[in-house]
């Protein structure tokens, strides 16, 4: 069908589901251990159960606002249905969480399909704060595209952090795709410009631009991002086709501010959430899906080159609730 078929194929295979299961193992273990603790010795969902549930969701980094929303919805259901047993809580929670994810994660793939086939490279600009795993995510992304027979060009526009360019070049060699770089301390916008131009020259399908990590409260650095974006548009007027914000899965409430500020500067179109294997916090995915109308597109669940998955809410919720 299109650009992202290779992801889908993988997902259908049992290994991929297994790796997501394994990656989210901690989240699940924690979540259900505690959920069963919360309802132990009780028949109906009462105030105390809801209180425990609040703690449980908050503890998974879902965030206060979304948690309160979920609790309110469940409260309303309890009031309506009069008698809700604790056994049903599991099912209700699953429905509520699936609903939260549903609101923002549907129908995004079609856009990508058409964008890839327009004869011009599909330009992805990757942004985020320091240390969230941008370069690693790009390496993994490049690998997936390359493995699917797509022609990929990488642009090393993180010219600030020591050895960031080298890091991307090594990834380029590993994956076997060309990297456009001007070395350290050069103008990132000009690297991005050249990378996009090179992509056009080579007839590439995908151009991925790495940018330096920046804290979202640094005005000048955020302005720089807008500039990088503008400069690319001189080569391809509608580039970048995707602005991918990478968020660290272990980040707490600050993730919301990051999403907000980066969106202000660059109109983020998709999210990648990394390091979900190491934390008990798959919950941040739920909170972010609820608070922003930006789809979660990728999740990183391990350190291997293949440990980047296209986010699928059904797989995710299934994985979260599988006992």
């Amino acid at each position: 069908m299109g650009l992202f078929d290779f992801f889908k194929k993988d997902k259908e295979s049992t290994t991929q589901q297994a790796s997501l299961d394994a990656g989210l193992e901690k989240t699940k273990a924690n979540f259900f251990e505690q959920l069963s603790k919360a309802v132990v010795g009780k028949n109906t969902v009462d105030e105390a159960v809801l209180d425990d549930l609040e703690g449980l969701l908050v503890h998974a980094d879902v965030g206060i606002e979304t948690t309160v929303k979920v609790i309110d919805r469940i409260e309303a259901r309890v009031a309506r249905d009069k008698y809700v047993s604790t056994g049903e809580l599991d099912r209700i929670l699953r429905e509520e969480i699936a609903a939260l994810l549903e609101d923002n994660n549907s129908g995004s793939m079609a856009v990508l399909d058409s964008a890839g086939s327009s004869g011009q490279p599909y330009v992805i600009m990757v942004v985020g704060v320091n240390g969230v795993g941008k370069t690693t995510t790009i390496g993994k992304l490049a690998h997936r595209f390359h493995a699917a027979g797509k022609k990929v060009v990488l642009g090393a526009a993180d010219t600030f952090r020591a050895a960031a360019v080298d890091q991307l070049i090594i990834w380029g060699e590993r994956v076997g795709v060309p990297v456009v770089s001007h070395g350290m301390n050069t103008d990132p916008a000009s690297v991005a410009y050249d990378a996009v131009r090179k992509g056009v020259e080579l007839g590439a399908d995908v151009v991925i631009i790495d940018t330096a990590g920046r804290l979202h409260n640094k005005v000048n650095l955020m302005n720089e991002l807008s500039k990088i974006k503008r400069v690319m548009q001189k080569v391809i007027p509608d580039a970048p086709h995707e602005v991918l914000l990478v968020l660290d899965g272990s980040t707490g409430q600050n993730a919301f501010l990051q999403a907000k500020e980066f969106t202000k500067a660059t109109e983020v179109t998709a999210l990648a959430i990394t390091k979900l294997d190491g934390t008990a916090r798959g919950g941040v995915v739920i909170g972010i899906s609820d608070q922003f109308s930006i789809p979660v597109r990728y999740i990183g669940v391990g350190e291997k080159m293949t440990d980047l998955q296209l986010f699928d809410r059904h797989t995710f919720v299934n994985s979260l609730f599988k006992k």
């Binding site: 703690g55 206060i64 070049i169 090594i170 640094k218 005005v219 000048n220 660290d248 409430q253 190491g278």
Partner: protein, 454 residues
């Protein structure tokens, strides 16, 4: 957030009014609010629960003062409690042995390598010879990164490109340090997840092999609820001596600091506040408590201002203020500097009391634009001698800047007020030095945008 919290608390403990002291009944609802506020600042849920229980005890029986609202009183109690929890005795890092060895550990992307560079620079400034050791054999170009940093700060970096065994590398590095008369060895390690058994065993082995006098756990201040588990596991495996909080130049509230402190009871020894090699600071519990509570943080504001303000420029302007020669050129240059400090609303939020006033006001950074336009429409002569601006000149300015005469007049009035205020402050503060100077600047700033935003 602070104002927000105290407003919420005011509402929650309305029943308190008319009563002389805080009691069990009227405090219950507030405790929940406080807990949510803490959790919102990324304090671990369980830690927040413990803390609020303590706060409840501390609050019980306290007399309600007439001068402050009960909400404010509660916030003060919370603030005191947090400060105390994160406080305790201040401990510097232990540099002992020949060579003294410092081991760094933490998750991926927490900022270990950058911190390694900063620490090396810090130790070097104490006139000790330092050797940085690159033990991150996994991440591509991690060794290069440390080498680049080492070059920047003039510290040698030890690495073995072919060797993939961190235990051997660190052992060899210590031998190398002995031979080459390096007194302090700082070992940067690969980022690892606390759940990665193999990697955790590796760093245990490194520690056992080199017996460091200081083991530090480096953690991102933006970390959420999981900070507790990570810190706990690293502490069990490494029994680290202290914590380093990174990326505090961001706007995270840093609740992780409190969680970690509460769970592992190890001191926070450094905070890291930027990408430059000297952006390293000691930890102050009171400031952290303010940050977690989102209280107006005047100290941070002043520091941020100091960081951005050009010292020479500030000196020049200060001299002009003293001579009462402050003019539009100076005003413009001040505006430029303020803009460099970041988002105006954030800055305002740092001034106590302001954040409440600014709660619903949306200020964008364009607020200064008309002011700038007016000033830039002035001739050199006009900027230097604002007094010559008469009606006809003002009309010209309004036209030239695309504003109207009212706006020009408002600016003039504001500028006059500013000068008056500066004169007064000048008389008041006879003390010299950075602080007094900054306060003047701040005074000027407050008067500056304030008038235009009405």
């Amino acid at each position: 957030m602070f104002d927000n919290l105290s407003t919420k608390l005011d509402r929650a403990i309305k029943t308190l009014k008319g009563q002389g002291s805080i009691s069990e009944i009227n405090v219950a609802a507030t405790i929940k609010e406080i807990r949510r506020a803490l959790v919102d600042a990324d304090v671990n849920y369980k830690v927040a629960k413990d803390v609020t229980d303590k706060i409840k005890d501390a609050a019980m029986g306290r007399d309600v003062l007439t001068a402050v609202s009960p909400g404010q009183l509660m916030v003060k109690i919370v603030y005191d409690e947090l400060t105390e929890l994160m406080g305790g005795e201040k401990k510097d890092i232990t540099i002992k042995g020949d060579p003294a060895v410092i081991l760094l550990s933490g998750l991926q992307g927490s900022g270990k390598t950058t911190f390694a560079g900063k620490l090396a620079s810090y130790v070097k400034k104490q006139n000790r010879t330092v050797l940085l050791v690159a033990c991150d054999v996994y991440r591509p170009a991690a060794i290069d990164q440390l080498k680049v940093l080492g070059e920047q700060i003039g510290v040698e970096v030890y690495s073995e490109v072919e060797n993939k065994n961190p235990v051997e590398i660190s052992r060899n590095a210590i031998e190398y340090a002995k031979k080459n008369n390096k007194k302090v060895v700082i070992i940067d390690t690969a980022g690892r997840l606390a759940v990665d058994e193999q990697m955790m065993r590796e760093i245990e082995a490194v520690k056992a092999a080199i017996n460091p006098s200081e083991t530090l756990f480096v953690v991102d201040s933006m970390t959420g609820q999981d900070a507790v588990n990570t810190a706990k596991t690293f502490n069990q495996r490494l029994n680290f001596d202290g914590v380093v909080l990174t990326k505090l130049d961001g706007d995270s509230r840093g609740g992780a600091a409190l969680s970690i402190r509460a769970v592992v009871e190890k001191p926070i020894k450094f905070i890291s506040t930027g990408e430059k090699m000297d952006a390293l600071d000691l930890f102050y519990p009171d400031r952290m408590a303010q940050r977690i509570l989102g209280m107006g943080d005047v100290i941070s504001l002043v520091e941020r201002a100091q960081m951005q303000f050009d010292k020479d420029e500030a000196k020049r302007i200060n001299a002009k203020i003293r001579k009462n020669q402050f003019n539009f050129d100076d005003f413009l240059s001040q505006l430029e500097q303020i803009k460099k400090m970041g988002n105006i609303k954030d800055l305002m939020g740092m001034i106590p009391g302001m954040s409440k006033a600014m709660k619903d006001v949306e200020i964008d950074d364009d607020a200064f634009k008309p002011v700038e336009a007016i000033i830039k429409s002035m001739t050199k002569q006009e900027r230097a001698n604002p007094d010559i601006l008469n009606g006809s000149r003002k009309r010209r300015l309004a036209k030239g800047s695309g504003t109207d005469i009212q706006q020009v007049n408002a600016l003039m009035k504001q500028f006059d007020d500013m000068r008056k205020m500066m004169r007064t402050m000048n008389k008041m503060s006879q003390t010299k030095g950075g602080m007094a100077q900054m306060q003047k600047m701040m005074g000027g700033m407050k008067g500056g945008p304030g008038g235009m935003m009405r």
